[in-house]
């Protein structure tokens, strides 16, 4: 897929809670086609301390309005600076980057997100709906205050929640949710994104039960286009770049 470097207009910067915000960016040109779990590399404006771009997964795409939306957690200096971006400023991005979730060969699909890992699942669900697949979504948060964009996700699938303290949905982690613990597991494929620990546990669980599972990883990276070799992940076939050979990997490939 051809990659682009372009300055996009910030048409919306909406704070969702203390830690999260949405950035909607508009391209003057027609957007390239974007696949689920692909990401952008965003240049942080005017800072010498945040020298490198930040990889951010694509949360939503609107091809009619040529907008892409990023759901971002404030995790450090770079994302803090991005959260201060004003409407009508420009942000320079390199995109679309990475491989994507593969299309399922069955109709019963479960998307699992933890924390910021819910970000790519919206566009993933939307994408699957276009192929006639209504996904089920399971999203885990620490507590009810951190639950993001409930109404929006509900449009694209059947949504279930778990929170660590039980303040929204079921109490516990996503792995403890009843969807994964009933006698009959109806899903033929799992797609997941979230913290490493969650993905590792889920990967182990899926392998033990013989369920096909793909995860989208996030590693520190510089270039995003396979040149710097900084973002490598250990796999059964050696080091692979998360930026170009990922971010999506089948859990069977991973050594972690």
């Amino acid at each position: 897929m051809k990659k682009y470097i372009d300055s996009l207009l910030v048409v919306k910067n909406q704070r969702l809670n203390k830690d999260y915000f949405l950035l909607k960016l508009q391209s003057e040109e027609d957007l390239p086609f974007i696949l689920p779990a692909q990401f952008v590399e965003v240049k942080i404006p005017d800072t010498s301390e945040t020298f490198l771009r930040r990889p951010v997964s694509i949360h939503d795409v609107n091809y009619d309005k040529n907008t892409i939306t990023l759901l971002i957690r404030i995790a450090g200096k770079g994302t803090l600076k991005l959260s201060e971006t004003k409407k009508y400023e420009y942000l320079n991005i390199v995109y679309p980057l990475g491989n994507s979730f593969s299309m399922p060969s069955c109709n019963k699909v479960l998307l699992i997100g933890g924390g910021c890992g819910v970000a790519p699942l919206l566009y993933t669900a939307k994408y699957m709906l276009n192929f006639g697949i209504t996904p089920t979504l399971l999203m885990g948060y620490r507590n009810s205050k951190l639950v993001l964009l409930k109404d929006k996700y509900a449009k694209y699938g059947n949504v279930y929640y778990s929170t660590d303290d039980g303040s929204y949905g079921e109490k516990g982690t996503v792995l403890e949710h009843s969807l994964l613990n009933s006698r009959f597991f109806p899903f033929g494929k799992i797609y997941a994104c979230g913290p490493d620990a969650m993905l590792k546990d889920l990967g182990k669980w899926a392998i033990e039960r013989g369920i096909d599972c793909e995860v989208s990883l996030e590693n520190l990276m510089a270039c995003g286009i396979g040149a710097c070799l900084c973002c490598v992940q250990d796999t059964v076939s050696g080091h692979k770049c998360v930026c170009t050979e990922g971010p999506v990997f089948n859990v069977k490939e991973l050594i972690w």
């Binding site: 051809k2 990659k3 682009y4 470097i5 240049k43 010498s48 301390e49 945040t50 020298f51 490198l52 771009r53 390199v94 590693n219 520190l220 990276m221 510089a222 270039c223 286009i225 396979g226 040149a227 710097c228 070799l229 900084c230 973002c231 490598v232 992940q233 250990d234 050696g238 080091h239 170009t244």
Partner: protein, 302 residues
Amino acid sequence: MVNLNIDFNGLNFKNPVLTASGTFGYGYEFEDFVDLSSLGGFIVKGTTLNAREGNPYPRMAETASGMLNAVGLQNKGVDFFCNEIYPRISKYDTNILVNVSGSAIEDYVETAAKINELDKIPGIELNISCPNVKEGGMAFGTNCSSAAQVVKEVRKVYKKHLMVKLSPNVTDIVSIAKSVEEQGANSLSLVNTFLGMAIDINTRKPKLSTITGGLSGPAIKPIAVRMVWQVSKAVKIPICGLGGIMNADDAIEFLLAGASCVQIGTANFIYPDITMKILEGIKHYCNIHGIKNITELIGAIN
């Protein structure tokens, strides 16, 4: 219009803009952003005799105006390069140099000999300055006799343009440059990365799996410019300058300090199309300043 052509001790560069090893993959990673044939040349990533998996993750840490890396020469070995990569990149109408690294002199020699057989590769960049491998690499480039020894042995088997990439992690870079020149190097490239370190103060752990790594980016540029200036006064062979170049002004600074051409490195990670912008910027500078031939700028510090 300015003539940007450079005669680099036998290599003909159509302009002074090249890219640095390890920051530009094998070139084709940048095809969507760069017209590769419009570059003076590019230097493909560090190639070793046998395949190397490189260092464990994390291999990178962002620093003020720069970054540390500890990739550790991950590559699939010289045979893979010759059989799989070379046929794919030899179509580009530019100078493709291969960065050759090793952990023993025999490795360098054997790798260089294999690359000598490739028609469309007019030169190698001998990497005696990688700070991220346990054995060899920088160890060869930090004293005069070992630097001279590896160049001498490679010179015996490598018949084309031999560029030697110097380490800045030395007390006296000029003496290393001279000893390499004496052994028949055709040119020098300087500088490789500076040995650096960063610590996560919350976990109290080093940010790199290898503890130390190589610092690159604009943070190192003034030191690199100083070293190019010092070395250019002391040697007769031409210099390819690098270290933190982010724009055309930076590139021109290196030319004025005495470099005949430049390599763009870390900037490729941030702006994958930066080489094209730098090339345009150099032309613009020459037009403004009435420079008819780019060679007028080389070492033209007042």
